[in-house]
C-alpha cells in the first residue's frame, strides 16, 4: 500500500480541557484506508519533525485526531483552526488486530491513551467493556462517547470521578465478572505493564499501543526504537512500522 501525504482541511475543532483537543480532518482517500490503531504523522509549520498522532475515529471521509499539548510542537498544532489545513502523512503503523464483532473485548485506556480505543468501541459495541483512567475529573475525555457505544467504566487517580484508583483495579473487577477474548490497551507505560501482567495471569491475549519519539514514520530512519523480544532474543523494533500495536508478551514494558 502506498503512503499518502497532503494538506487537508480541518473541518471541526473541539477543546476538551486546558490541554486536550479534537480535530476532524477531511481526507477521504486516507480516511478510507485507515484502520483502528493506526496513526498519522502531522507536520507543524516551523518544526522539523512531524508529530505522530493516533487516529481516534474514522469514516470514509474524515479522520478524527485527539491530542494533548505536550510541548512546543503540539502547542502550535492546537492553535490551528477550522478552515486551516493540516499536512498529514498516513495511514501509518499496523493497527489493532481485528476479531469477529461478537468477540468480548476489553478496552483499557489511560489519559491521552484513551482516544485510539474509541474506534474499537464502535466496532465491538456492547461486546466491549471500556475501562478508562484519568488523573481527575477535570482531565476526563470522551467518556460520554464511549458510553454511547459500549459498557464504560471510569477510574480517577484521586477519586474525583468514578472508581477511586487505577485502570488495573477496574480490569480485575471486570475479569471477576467473566472472561474476555482480548484486551486492547493504550496509555502510560506503568499502566500498560500493569494491564499486561493481569492479562498474563488470566491467560488473555493482550495488545498494547505504545509511543516513542519519532521522525520519518515509515521505517526509514529507525529512531522510534522499542524493546521487544523475538525468538527469545531482545531487539529494538520500531514503533512506526512494527507497531504502534504490539503483543504484550512481545514488547518489554
Amino acid at each position: 500500500m502506498a503512503y499518502l501525504q497532503g494538506s487537508f482541511p480541518i473541518i471541526q475543532k473541539q477543546q476538551f480541557n486546558s490541554d486536550t483537543y479534537s480535530f476532524y480532518i477531511r481526507c477521504p482517500e486516507m480516511a478510507a484506508q485507515t484502520v483502528p490503531g493506526q496513526f498519522v504523522n502531522l507536520k507543524i509549520p516551523g518544526f522539523s519533525l512531524r508529530r505522530p498522532i493516533s487516529v481516534c475515529q474514522r469514516d470514509d471521509e474524515v479522520l478524527r485526531l485527539v491530542f494533548q499539548i505536550r510541548g512546543e510542537g503540539t502547542k502550535e498544532l492546537a492553535a490551528l483552526e477550522p478552515g486551516m489545513k493540516a499536512d498529514l502523512l498516513g495511514p501509518l503503523g499496523n493497527g489493532f488486530p481485528q476479531l469477529p464483532p461478537k468477540a468480548k473485548v476489553i478496552l483499557a485506556g489511560g489519559g491521552i491513551g484513551v482516544p485510539p480505543l474509541l474506534a474499537l468501541a464502535q466496532v465491538y459495541g456492547r461486546n466491549a467493556t471500556a475501562l478508562l483512567g484519568f488523573r481527575n475529573k477535570e482531565s476526563l475525555i470522551l467518556e460520554g462517547e464511549f458510553a454511547a457505544e459500549c459498557d464504560t467504566r471510569v477510574a480517577t487517580d484521586d477519586g474525583s470521578f468514578g472508581y477511586h484508583g487505577f485502570v488495573t483495579g477496574l480490569l480485575e473487577r471486570r475479569l471477576s465478572e467473566g472472561p474476555a477474548d482480548m484486551i486492547f490497551a493504550c496509555g502510560p507505560l506503568a499502566m500498560l505493564k500493569g494491564i499486561a501482567d493481569i492479562a498474563e495471569k488470566n491467560q488473555i491475549p493482550c495488545k498494547v499501543s505504545v509511543e516513542e519519539r519519532m521522525a520519518c514514520g515509515i521505517g526509514a530512519c529507525l529512531v522510534c526504537a522499542c524493546r521487544t523480544v523475538r525468538d527469545g532474543k531482545e531487539i529494538y523494533s520500531h514503533v512506526c512500522t512494527d507497531g504502534p500495536v504490539f503483543d504484550s508478551r512481545e514488547v518489554v514494558l
Binding site: K43, S48, L49, C216, C221, V223, C224, A225
Partner: protein, 302 residues
C-alpha cells in the same frame, strides 16, 4: 538539458542522492515515488555484525533541525547482502553501501565483502558520532582516517567515497589525508555533535545524552566545509548537511559539490528530492544553463 554527473567513474542520472541513515535500504521512499527518480541512494550504515543501536529516545527537535542518536542499528553485512540488496536488483539508480566498523580490520573486512557484491559504490563512514568504538574516532584524526582508507583500498576496486565528520578543527587536512590514502571521492558533512535538555526533568532529551545535529541549521557549516574541501582536493566532493530546497543544492554545487545528498528534509516532506529536481530544472531553463556540470565550483570568492 543535462543533469548527469560522474563521480569516480560512476554515472548518476542527476546529482540528487538520498543520505545514509535517512532512507533505510531504499524501499520506504519508493512507496512515494520510484527510486529511479533519484541519482542514487546511500543506504543505511552497515557493520560486520548486526547492531541493535542505542536505547530510545533517539531523536529530538532542535531549532531548524534535529538530533539523532540511532547508533548504527543495522542487520549486519550478511543479512544486507542476502535479504536487502537483492530487492534493489534491476533498479535504475546508483546504489551506495555505507560501511562502518569498530576497528581498521573491520573496515577492511567490509570493503572485502562489498567488493564481491553488486553494489555500485562504497561510502566509508568514518564519521558516525553515535557509536562508542570506531565511527567518528577515525574521522577526527588524519592518520587514523588514512589507515582506514588504506586498508579498505587494498580490499576493493569499487569506487570508494569517504564520508567526513565536521567535528574537527581542520576539515581540509582530513580530506587531504583520505585523498592521499586512495579515496576516490569525499562526502561531507556527517552530523554535528549536539545536545538538548528537558528543563522540567533536567534530563537530556536523548538517552545517549548527545547526538548528531542535522537539518537546515547546519547548512551554512556544511557549505563552508564543502567549499574548503573542494578547493583543496582533486577528487570529487559530494555535499550534504541541511539541504532542504533546490536553492540549497545550487549553492552546494556552486561551492564545488559534484552531487548532493538529502537526509533530514525527507522527514518533513518525503517529496523533497522530487521538488528539488523540478526546481533545479526550472532554474536551469530560466538561466539558460544546459549542463549542470557548468555550475560546479563556479563560486566567485572575494
Amino acid at each position: 538539458m543535462n543533469l548527469e554527473v560522474k563521480i569516480a567513474g560512476v554515472t548518476f542520472k542527476n546529482p540528487i542522492i538520498l543520505a545514509s541513515g535517512c532512507c533505510g535500504f531504499g524501499q520506504e521512499y519508493d512507496k512515494f515515488y520510484p527510486m529511479e527518480a533519484l541519482g542514487g541512494l546511500s543506504l543505511k550504515g552497515l557493520t560486520p555484525n548486526e547492531r541493535q543501536g542505542n536505547p530510545p529516545p533517539r531523536v529530538a527537535e532542535t531549532p531548524s533541525g534535529m538530533l539523532n542518536s540511532v547508533g548504527l542499528q543495522n542487520p549486519g553485512i550478511d543479512a544486507f547482502l542476502e535479504r536487502e540488496l537483492p530487492n534493489l536488483a534491476g533498479r535504475d539508480t546508483v546504489k551506495i553501501a555505507n560501511a562502518a566498523g569498530a576497528t581498521v580490520e573491520e573496515y577492511a573486512y567490509m570493503a572485502q565483502r562489498l567488493d564481491a557484491s553488486p553494489i555500485d559504490m562504497i561510502e566509508a563512514n568514518i564519521s558516525c558520532p553515535n557509536v562508542k568504538q570506531g565511527g567518528a574516532a577515525f574521522g577526527t584524526d588524519c592518520s587514523m582516517a588514512a589507515q582506514v582508507v588504506t586498508a579498505m583500498r587494498k580490499n576493493t576496486t569499487k569506487p570508494l567515497m569517504v564520508k567526513l565528520s565536521p567535528n574537527v578543527t581542520d576539515i581540509v587536512s582530513i580530506a587531504k589525508s583520505v585523498e592521499d590514502a586512495g579515496a576516490d571521492a569525499i562526502s561531507l558533512i556527517n552530523t554535528l555533535l549536539g545536545m538538548r535538555i528537558d528543563i522540567s526533568t533536567r534530563r537530556p532529551v536523548l538517552h545517549q545524552n548527545v547526538g548528531g545535529l542535522s537539518g537546515p541549521a547546519v547548512f551554512p557549516i556544511a557549505l563552508r566545509m564543502v567549499w574548503q574541501v573542494a578547493g583543496a582536493v582533486k577528487i570529487p566532493v559530494v555535499g550534504l548537511g541541511g539541504i532542504a530546497k533546490w536553492q540549497d543544492v545550487i549553492e552546494m554545487m556552486i561551492a564545488g559539490a559534484k552531487a548532493v545528498q538529502i537526509g533530514a528534509a525527507l522527514f518533513g516532506d518525503p517529496f523533497t528530492p522530487v521538488k528539488i529536481l523540478e526546481g533545479i530544472q526550472q532554474w536551469m531553463e530560466q538561466k539558460g544553463i544546459s549542463d549542470i556540470n557548468d555550475i560546479i565550483g563556479s563560486v566567485q570568492p572575494y
